[in-house]
Amino acid sequence: MVPLAFLDEGARGKIVRITGGHGILARLTAMGFGPGREVKVVRNQMAGPLLVASGDAQVAIGRGMAMKILVEVE
């Protein structure tokens, strides 16, 4: 398990856990980025937010939050 923020551009992973409060968890889940979802890192510039895709949705996720999303790399 690694934080989503550590994934390279183009890498895929499966969200395993989200630490950091139920507000964040509920929000991410509702947007299609909850535990169990397959995600693909579209942009990761090693500073600033990441661009992550899941299914047909694409969201920008701040780096701090991306550190709290733990994924299993495929």
């Binding site: 929000r27 889940t29 600033g48 937010p49 299914g55 949705a57 694409q58 920008a60």
Partner: protein, 670 residues
């Protein structure tokens, strides 16, 4: 409220506003939800001989109690029990959208699905069978392309047909026995059953929802319900771990099955959107492109609006002259010409640039680019304690701070929002430009462009530094986490763009129109009267007469305050009235120096009351000091009196310090 109550709900960017407008036409009104600054839109329409009252709910992804928008939407559906809930679903993003649909069905609402953007879905290679979706969801599904008006008639028919239905609840196989156990006890309280859907209450209790706990807390069976809840939760935790997570998982499991059977065709395509994103969100290209886009927006705004402003200017001076020559009573003709007509003219001259700027912004928003702008700028904004989304209201501030401050509503975190509001007046709005042009023309001939640009840069620099400082001192902590959907790029939907442009321009017109207009009339009144009574309209052209007016009294009273900067009483008067609206500074100086605005630069330069250094300090002071009355009103509306007052005080102090520093450095260099 009369007629049948229906409500529109959906994720952000699903075309909800377009559908709302298509249903209600012009019969709508905008207000706020009680107690919060979230916009509430209501409208009406008639179909099949029935009257419908439509309430537009905020765009939400779910119905938890974690965000204001979601709470508003949920409370409305739970408490007001609309006869029909039209759930607008983005066909190009079916799975995520169905998450909200499931939650609506949980509440027990009478749901009708408007499956919008089927054209976009097909472009992405997704084909959905609406009949199959209807079958698995158990509610009617109307396929639409709302931006082209397709499916509106069918939607209206379906609304009529679906009244009074009660959809089947969604079953969550892994949780059913536990939900049942809770329902059995909740069901014993007649009042709870009458007012709420027991099944929804049970699910929310399992999720640990605070509101649901509050509702149950008022029941005489409170203790029994809570005891059972604790037992059920223990058993569930043993089986699934975190219950809220497990339930979300369960919902997504069901959604995957629904999507699987409803999506009949799917092929992977590199969409146009993805290609654009390759460039627009690029590591190195993103920010230069953003700056280029903004430059193009301002170039477009000022070039296109200039002739319109000229026409308005010309029209009002013609109107003033002809009114002046036709009315013989001096006081009345001066009130009309120099007060009312000149006042209206001075406000309306700003209408074209503001309207065109908002047009450009609404188009960028509608196209999806603004979300990318927030994405590429987040890194920069974050460094100064601001949020990526702060960038949009800040740039809008270059047009007019009033709608810009209202645009901060897209920021969910209260601290982020307040901070963005407080620094917004430092973004130099278009009303300050005439002041810079006047002084740059008078004292920096040949270098006007540099002098004016330096004011904009000073404003941006101060806004960032102040934001950083306030974040350190007042709003301690980090900006809230950044999460924002990047919708696919859209072809322009002109109806929506024009609608958004109009609603913003109207806010400027209404707020600024009334306040600035009243202000200019007050300036006129104080100029033509004095401690000795009415001075006559010549006071506006005759400096000697003017020095007997109330205006001069105010100016002399303020002069000691401004003497360190070397400004005379006339500068004090101009600044005093600039509080009404910054462009009034130019008009006031025109009156005080007794010349028209076209000759003003030469006269001020020749009068010797300013040196280039004190003039530059004056420009900076105008940039920074108190936001105009309309902006203060907007801050009060969005953040309350306390913060409006705070903004006035900090900006006055900052303006004074900056002006003193400029005079000091300028003096040392000279």
């Amino acid at each position: 409220m009369e007629g049948t109550l229906i409500t529109l709900i959906g994720n952000p960017n699903v075309g909800k506003t377009t559908i709302f407008n298509a249903l209600t036409g012009l019969k709508q009104h905008v207000g706020n939800w009680p107690g919060v600054t979230v916009e509430k839109k209501e409208g009406e329409f008639e179909h099949g001989g029935k009257r419908f009252h439509v309430v537009d709910l905020p765009g939400v992804y779910a119905l938890t109690a974690y965000s204001i928008d979601e709470k508003i939407a949920r409370d409305f559906i739970v408490r007001e029990k609309p006869d029909l809930v039209v759930d607008i679903v983005d066909a190009s993003n079916l799975q995520r959208n169905l998450y909200l649909t499931l939650q609506l069905l949980e509440i027990g609402a009478n749901v009708l699905v408007a499956l919008n953007k089927i054209d976009l879905a097909e472009e992405k290679g997704i084909k959905i069978d609406p009949r199959e979706l209807e079958r698995v969801l158990g509610v009617s599904v109307i396929p639409m392309v709302a931006s082209r008006g397709e499916g509106i008639k069918e939607l209206k028919d379906a609304i009529l047909k679906n009244l009074g239905r009660k959809p089947e609840p969604v079953k969550y196989p892994n949780f059913e026995p536990y939900i049942e156990r809770l329902i059995r006890i909740i069901g014993l309280d007649g009042r709870l059953v009458k007012e709420y859907n027991p099944r929804w209450l049970a699910i929310k209790l399992l999720e640990g929802d605070e509101d649901a706990k509050g509702i149950v807390g008022g029941s005489p069976l409170r203790d029994e319900i809570m005891r059972e809840l604790i037992k059920v939760k223990k058993e569930l935790q043993k089986k699934h771990g975190d219950i809220e997570l497990a339930l979300a998982d369960e919902r997504y499991g069901i959604i995957s099955k629904i999507a699987e059977s409803a999506i009949v065709e799917r092929e992977e395509r590199m969409t146009f959107s993805e290609m654009l994103d390759e460039v627009l969100t690029h590591k190195y290209l993103g920010i230069p492109i953003f700056i280029g886009v903004m430059w193009a927006v301002f170039k477009f705004t000022f070039d296109v609006s200039a002739p319109f402003s000229d026409i308005i200017d010309w029209f009002f001076s013609w109107l003033g002259d002809s009114v002046g020559t036709h009315i013989s009573n001096d006081a009345l003709s001066s009130l009309l010409r120099d007060g009312i007509i000149a006042g209206l003219g001075s406000v309306l001259v700003f209408l074209p640039p503001i309207a065109f700027l908002f047009l450009a912004f609404s188009w960028l928003e509608d196209s999806g680019y603004m979300a990318r702008a927030a994405f590429v700028m987040d890194r920069v904004m974050h460094r100064f304690g601001l949020h990526g989304k702060s960038v949009i209201p800040m740039i809008m501030g270059f047009g007019c701070n009033v709608p810009a401050i209202m645009a901060t509503r897209t920021l969910e975190d209260e601290k982020d929002r307040l901070l963005t509001i407080l620094v917004n007046p430092l973004m130099s709005c278009s009303a300050r430009l005439p002041v810079y042009m006047l002084f740059a023309g008078a004292f920096f001939a040949g270098r006007e462009g540099t002098a004016i640009t330096s004011m904009y840069l000073l404003g941006i620099g101060l806004a960032l530094v102040i934001a950083w400082l306030f974040r350190k001192v007042i709003f301690k902590g980090e900006p809230s986490y950044f999460i924002m959907e990047l919708p696919p790029y859209n072809r322009p939907n002109w109806r929506a763009i024009i609608g958004a442009t109009w609603s913003r321009t109207e806010k400027f017109l209404r707020k600024a129109g009334t306040i600035i207009f009243a202000g200019v009339v007050v300036v006129w009144l104080l100029s033509v009267t004095g401690p000795g009574g009415y001075l006559g309209s010549e006071a506006l052209e005759n400096g000697a007469l003017l020095s007997k007016s109330w205006v001069a009294v105010i100016g002399h009273a303020l002069q000691p305050l401004f003497s360190p900067m070397g400004w005379d009483w006339r500068a004090g008067v101009a600044l005093f009235f600039g509080f009404i609206a910054k462009e009034v500074v130019v008009g006031t100086l025109g009156v005080l120096y007794g010349v028209g605005e076209e000759n003003l630069p030469h006269v001020i330069a020749a009068s010797g009351t300013f040196t280039p250094v004190t003039a530059y300090a004056f420009m900076a002071f105008v940039l920074i000091y108190v936001p105009c009355v309309a902006t203060i009103g907007a801050i009060k509306g969005e953040a309350g009196w306390k913060w409006a007052l705070f903004a006035v005080v900090y900006e006055l102090i900052l303006a004074y310090i900056v002006a003193l520093v400029i005079v000091g450095i300028g003096g040392a260099l000279a």
